[in-house]
């Protein structure tokens, strides 16, 4: 057993009682683990990082940001004062508003623990208050409307328009795509309201995967939803939840499917399964896939078309939370825009990272309006043609590893830039909002 460095002593939570406890991160061979002991509930060991790139080398040094406006006061200490408080070290890149808890699916995995039953939804006034709370604390950051399944609301176009009218320039809907496949008029109204992008649950390219993860065959629906987005000009990001034994071997096919549907599909954003909300059973290490394993699979399953070296740690959130790579699709393959070697040891400002991430998402995950630009092609200069290629053919591959009660590291929580807006106007780091103990009890949700 070897300790990584001084930073390997961290704080975590007991997955049973959710009390704050000390934890250590250590490496055995190519695998890094978290180990923690609750005086009442015993010792827990969980895999954090497995595979080629050592965890200690996956770094991007940042100088913390200071929030100008905080909502909550430090009282019990992180993570019990979320809102955000002045111990939080990063601005909001994306604010997430849950517009319903209802859903038209009942998946075995669901971090929001949503059901098909009809529960009370927040009113338009409630949602206006949430938007205004974001404006007050974080300004016009990117917005993701989530749930539940947001498209079960007939007034979703009004909700989008409300955000646009309040000054938000990038609004994305997180959806399973069923209604977008079935109801073309609804898609038209979302577009007219100002929807920039769809964060489409897309777990794979065949129905065996959907039956296992979502309880029914859905591939045709996904395909139709993408077609409708293409027809009416809405950018799509494919979002697969990666579950060992279910769809890890489909990673390459998902990427190839995405590339085939550029420029409507703007990228693939993988989410390795995390264990909060609704899950079939208590997680073991074999039930997890870590970020370096995802990168290795991407490279392997695309026959090295996408190299591990093209994927980088993030400049916005904590380095251990994600990776991303940017590409330009060319006739003979991919041009790699990002390189891991460009991450040097210099310290960057976290605030600058948040601004860049906001701009990148708004630019690269929105629809590229090729029809208008193509008309102007005749009088384009060389530079305009390059710009057009960049806009039309850019493609991003990324992944975000959410934290659950077994692997949560409070250092990462403090660096979080994706914040869920509560009904009383607090902003809660995404993982903290969704984290539940072994019995499904949450610190913040509900």
């Amino acid at each position: 057993m070897m300790l990584l460095n001084k930073q390997s002593k961290i704080e975590s939570l007991c997955p049973i009682c959710l009390k704050k406890i000390d934890a250590s991160i250590f490496t055995e061979g190519e695998t890094s683990y978290m180990m923690k002991t609750c005086p009442e509930h015993g010792t827990f060991k969980t895999v954090l990082w497995r595979g080629g790139i050592p965890m200690g080398k996956w770094v991007r040094h940042k100088e913390r940001a200071y929030l100008e406006k905080t909502v909550t006061k430090v009282d019990k200490g992180c993570p019990y004062d979320c809102g955000l408080c002045n111990e939080h070290r990063q601005h909001t890149c994306t604010a997430l508003i849950e517009v319903t808890q209802n859903c038209n699916l009942q998946c075995p995995f669901c971090f929001a623990d949503s059901f098909a039953k009809k529960g009370q939804e927040p009113s338009l006034n409630d949602i206006r208050f949430q938007y205004q709370s974001v404006l007050r604390v974080s300004g016009t950051c990117n917005i993701q409307l989530s749930g539940g399944e947001p498209t079960v609301r007939n007034d979703l176009p009004e909700i989008i328009k409300m955000g646009v009218d309040l000054g938000f320039t990038f609004i994305q809907v997180n959806t399973n795509g069923i209604r977008m496949a079935d109801d073309e008029n609804y898609v038209i109204s979302l577009k007219k309201a100002g929807l920039s992008s769809v964060f489409l649950q897309f777990d794979g390219t065949h129905d065996k995967i959907y039956r296992k993860l979502r309880g029914k065959a859905l591939f045709e629906k996904k395909f139709k939803a993408i077609e409708n987005c293409k027809k009416y000009g809405i950018g799509v990001v494919l979002v697969p939840t990666l579950v060992p034994g279910v769809n890890i071997d489909n990673i390459g096919e998902i990427i190839k499917f995405g590339i085939k549907h550029v420029p409507t599909v703007r990228g693939v954003h993988f989410q390795p399964v995390s264990y909060f909300g609704r899950m079939p059973k208590m997680p073991q290490d074999k039930d997890r896939i870590t970020l370096p394993e995802v990168m290795t699979e991407i490279s392997k399953q695309t026959d090295n078309m996408i190299l591990v070296e093209s994927m980088k740690p993030p400049g916005c959130e904590n380095a251990l939370c994600s990776f991303h790579g940017n590409y330009i699709i060319e006739e003979n393959g991919l041009m790699q825009v990002t390189k891991r070697s460009s991450c040097c040891c210099a310290t960057e400002k976290a605030e600058e990272g948040a601004n860049k991430a906001k701009a990148f998402v708004a630019r690269n995950w929105s629809y590229y309006n090729h029809n208008n630009k193509d008309k102007q092609q005749e009088d384009c200069s060389d530079w305009d043609k390059i710009l057009k290629t960049i806009q039309k053919s850019s493609f991003s591959i990324s992944a975000m590893a959410f934290q659950d009660a077994w692997n949560v590291n409070l250092e990462r929580i403090k660096d979080c830039c994706i914040h869920v807006v509560t009904h009383d106007g607090r902003l809660i780091p995404f993982c903290m909002y969704n984290l539940t103990n072994a019995e499904g009890r949450s610190l913040y949700r509900n």
Binding site: G315, C316, M335, Q336, T338, A357, V361, I386, I390
Partner: protein
């Protein structure tokens, strides 16, 4: 380089005293190779990039490729 005539966009290389000509030039940014028409000295091959271009289209391209 001396800007002799604004209307004709005529530029003279200060070193070779030759008139710059527009020529397809390979530009490399990150891992991408692009070919663009740029003003170039036919003698010493020195490329001239005007302030307008550097702060205009060139910057737009750079921003389009900007990472997070």
């Amino acid at each position: 380089m001396k800007h002799e005539n604004e209307k004709k966009n005529l530029w003279i290389c200060d070193k070779c005293h030759k008139e710059l000509v527009s020529e397809k030039t390979k530009v490399r940014y990150l891992d991408g190779n692009f070919e663009v028409a740029l003003l170039k000295c036919p003698e010493c091959n020195l490329v001239f990039i005007s302030e307008d271009l550097a702060l205009g289209k060139m910057l737009e391209v750079e921003k389009g490729l900007e990472d997070k």
